[in-house]
């Protein structure tokens, strides 16, 4: 089988080792309505409250190197999907700098911007909502590459190749999305993202809605494609088991901030941040024998009014006065391992 995406030499040039594929510097993203002029006057006069603003991302630094799988973990509402969307280039950050292969993405224009857009693709969470119910599988997969002029031979051959690559029977490509199960739809979603020959895939909870046996099949598809097409992944998930399985590096998010980042073995064997430790302690594993669940107290605070200082301090068993006022900076504590916790400043006991 000849595939246009299968190139003889690895896609990444020699300097790729030094320049990361994606580099985010102090990326913030806020959501909220802009007050109109009349409202602004009444706010200035103190007659109205300023509109509520959600701080979805708060000065996040993150680097993704070519060829690696970065797992992004956090509870719902922590901003991991927002970060995924920004990484895929479909949502602009409110402030901060987003470098794509060393170039500022906001400054890209014309063909360079289109190339960057195509090279980063996103696979969405809900495979039913993200496939147009009125388009058949072939149209869904072929639409984008046809528009971008990526199909050199026959359209059906091009589509068949990509469907086969994800383990989807091409003879069924004339059918509509609702005729397929969740697992099959997930495969179509992956094929559609791959059809524009991307280098970087953002998978936002791509296996969350699937049954265990189907989840295993899809995870295997991701692993195979990575080797075959030399892909880089940002794998967003709340499932630590899945992330541990597929990732090279893991970043843990809490309420709009990345609190810890480390290689996968490191984070699972030596978690540093109290939140990471709590999270890992609660992952159920297949290990017969009853065990007591020691839950972290409280719930994720609202991103409308995040706590002062370290966002985790109201739930943290080790919180001190300093944590209540000063937000900790993320510091390197071991090679490749960084964590944002004031405890690391104290001499170890």
């Amino acid at each position: 089988m000849t595939l246009p995406a299968e190139k003889a030499t690895p896609r990444q040039a020699a300097h790729a080792a030094t320049i990361p594929l994606v580099e985010m510097r102090a990326i913030s993203r806020r959501f909220g309505s802009k007050p109109d002029p009349a409202a602004r006057i009444s706010i200035a006069l103190g007659a109205a409250k300023p509109p509520a603003v959600v701080h979805a991302l708060d000065e996040v630094d993150l680097t993704i190197r070519a060829g690696e799988v970065l797992g992004l973990v956090g509870e719902s509402g922590c901003g991991k999907s927002t970060l995924g969307r920004i990484a895929a280039g479909i949502l602009p950050p409110t402030s901060g700098q987003f470098l794509w292969k060393g170039q500022d993405r906001a400054a890209l224009r014309g063909q360079a911007l289109r190339d960057a857009d195509l090279a980063a693709q996103m696979i969405f969470q809900n495979p039913m909502a993200s496939l147009n119910p009125r388009m058949n599988i072939e149209t869904l997969v072929a639409e984008a590459p046809a528009i971008h002029g990526l199909i050199s031979g026959k359209r059906t051959d091009y589509v068949d190749d990509y469907l086969r690559m994800v383990g989807f029977d091409p003879t069924m490509k004339r059918r509509l999305p609702h005729q397929f199960s969740g697992g099959q739809r997930a495969r179509v979603n992956i094929a559609r993202a791959l059809a524009v020959q991307p280098e970087f895939l953002v998978c936002d909870e791509s296996v969350a809605a699937l049954d265990v046996s189907i989840q295993a099949q899809i995870l295997n598809v991701f692993m195979d494609l990575r080797e075959r097409l030399d892909l880089t992944y940002l794998f967003v998930s709340h499932d630590l088991g899945v992330v541990e399985h597929i990732s090279d590096r893991v970043a843990i998010m809490y309420l709009g901030r990345v609190v810890e980042e480390a290689p996968v073995e490191e984070i699972f064997s030596r978690p540093n941040h109290p939140y990471t430790q709590a999270l890992l302690a609660e992952v159920p594993r297949i290990k017969p024998g009853k065990r007591k669940f020691q839950a972290v107290k409280g719930e994720l605070p609202s991103p409308l009014a995040p706590p002062q200082g370290c966002h985790f301090h109201p739930r943290c068993p080790f919180a001190s006065e300093r944590c209540r006022v000063e937000a900790p900076k993320r510091k390197t504590i071991a090679p490749g391992h960084s964590s944002a916790c004031h405890l690391n400043d104290q001499p170890t006991i």
Binding site: A216, L219, G289, V296
Partner: protein, 324 residues
């Protein structure tokens, strides 16, 4: 000792397109003692939720329990009158559902919803009912329960709503709680809180629990025994350690190995080929045979329960009892 719950050959059918009954629950048998936790595990469409609804007597028409017995404390619930079942439901058998937003009435205050269940089963003054409701909320760890009684469900987070649902289920100190994926919609830390709440309550009150889930990991740390469902049948059941460490049925075996774990990092996961067939296309004989690599001619016949009442499997070609 007589078991609290003894289900024998239970069949629940829904009419199919051709008039033929589709068996969502197909001849299942299991037992449960007081204070025991049974994990009922299966993938979507395996019939685990329909089993829960059948036990509660909540199967909607045109669905129907068409065969078998549900012996609850010696009494056959299948033969019991609707009035009798209503008297038991909520009082001696309670259920906690997956989505707490769907099970709480959005236009009633939390306090009203809790006391409603008390008034339905007991002659109790409003004041006493309110005190009991307050107690129930405090028991599941809801802060400032007095004020919370007057709140509406939308003012609660998902984890808090599930606590309310558990509080309602625990109100009458039932003998049996059927929990249908109670933590699936919740985050890991909240899930741990709910499970620890459950563990505390069942230990203190000796309640038996059927925990319906697709998550083997939760079951492994919570349950005493496990029953694995596929295609409407219990294909394997037994003590938690024996089933998870030495699964006999190829489906159980495959299911356990397809869960990502610390050992699987960087390698391919073992996968079960294909998908669960729909009820209308369930193969005859062993339902799993079309996806099973051990299947032979023999599997066209329906496998019986091999083993004892408490620990059995339904497979002609099981894995050895001990393997490395």
């Amino acid at each position: 000792m007589k078991p609290l719950l003894d289900v024998r050959g239970l069949v629940t059918e829904f009419p199919g397109p051709s008039g033929k009954g589709l068996r969502a629950v197909d001849d299942i048998s299991f037992q449960l003692s007081r204070g025991e936790v049974l994990g009922l595990v299966g993938e979507s469409g395996s019939g685990k939720s329909v089993t829960g609804f059948s036990l509660m007597g909540l199967i909607d028409k045109p669905g129907k329990v068409t065969a078998g017995q549900i012996l609850f404390d010696g009494e056959d619930l299948v033969a019991a009158s609707p009035e009798r079942r209503r008297g038991l439901r909520g009082r001696r058998i309670a259920m906690v559902f997956q989505d707490p937003m769907m099970t709480l009435n959005p236009v009633l205050r939390i306090g009203t919803q809790i006391t409603e269940s008390l008034h339905a089963h007991e002659r109790i003054s409003r004041r006493a009912a309110r005190a009991r409701a307050r107690e129930a909320l405090a028991m599941v760890g809801i802060p400032s329960p007095d004020e919370r009684l007057d709140a509406y469900p939308h003012e609660f987070s998902g984890g808090m709503r599930q606590r309310v649902a558990i509080a309602i289920a625990m109100l009458h100190q039932p003998d049996l709680i059927i929990a249908d994926e109670p933590t699936t919609a919740l985050d890991v830390t909240i899930q741990a809180q709910i499970i620890s709440e459950f563990q505390k309550l069942t230990e203190e009150q000796g309640t038996a629990v059927i925990w319906i889930t697709h998550d083997l990991a939760i079951v492994s740390s919570l349950a005493d025994r496990i029953a694995v469902m596929y295609g409407g049948r219990i294909i394997e059941t037994g003590g938690i350690a024996s089933v998870l460490e030495t699964p006999r049925h190829p489906y159980t075996h495959g299911l356990i190995r397809s869960v990502p774990s610390e050992n699987s990092r960087g390698s391919r996961l073992a996968q079960i080929p294909g998908v669960t067939p729909s009820l209308a296309r369930m193969p005859d004989g062993c339902a799993f045979r079309t996806r099973c690599k051990r299947a032979t001619e023999e599997c066209h016949a329906r496998p019986e329960q091999f083993g004892t009442e408490l620990s059995y499997h339904r497979c002609f070609h099981p894995y050895e009892e001990v393997y490395a």
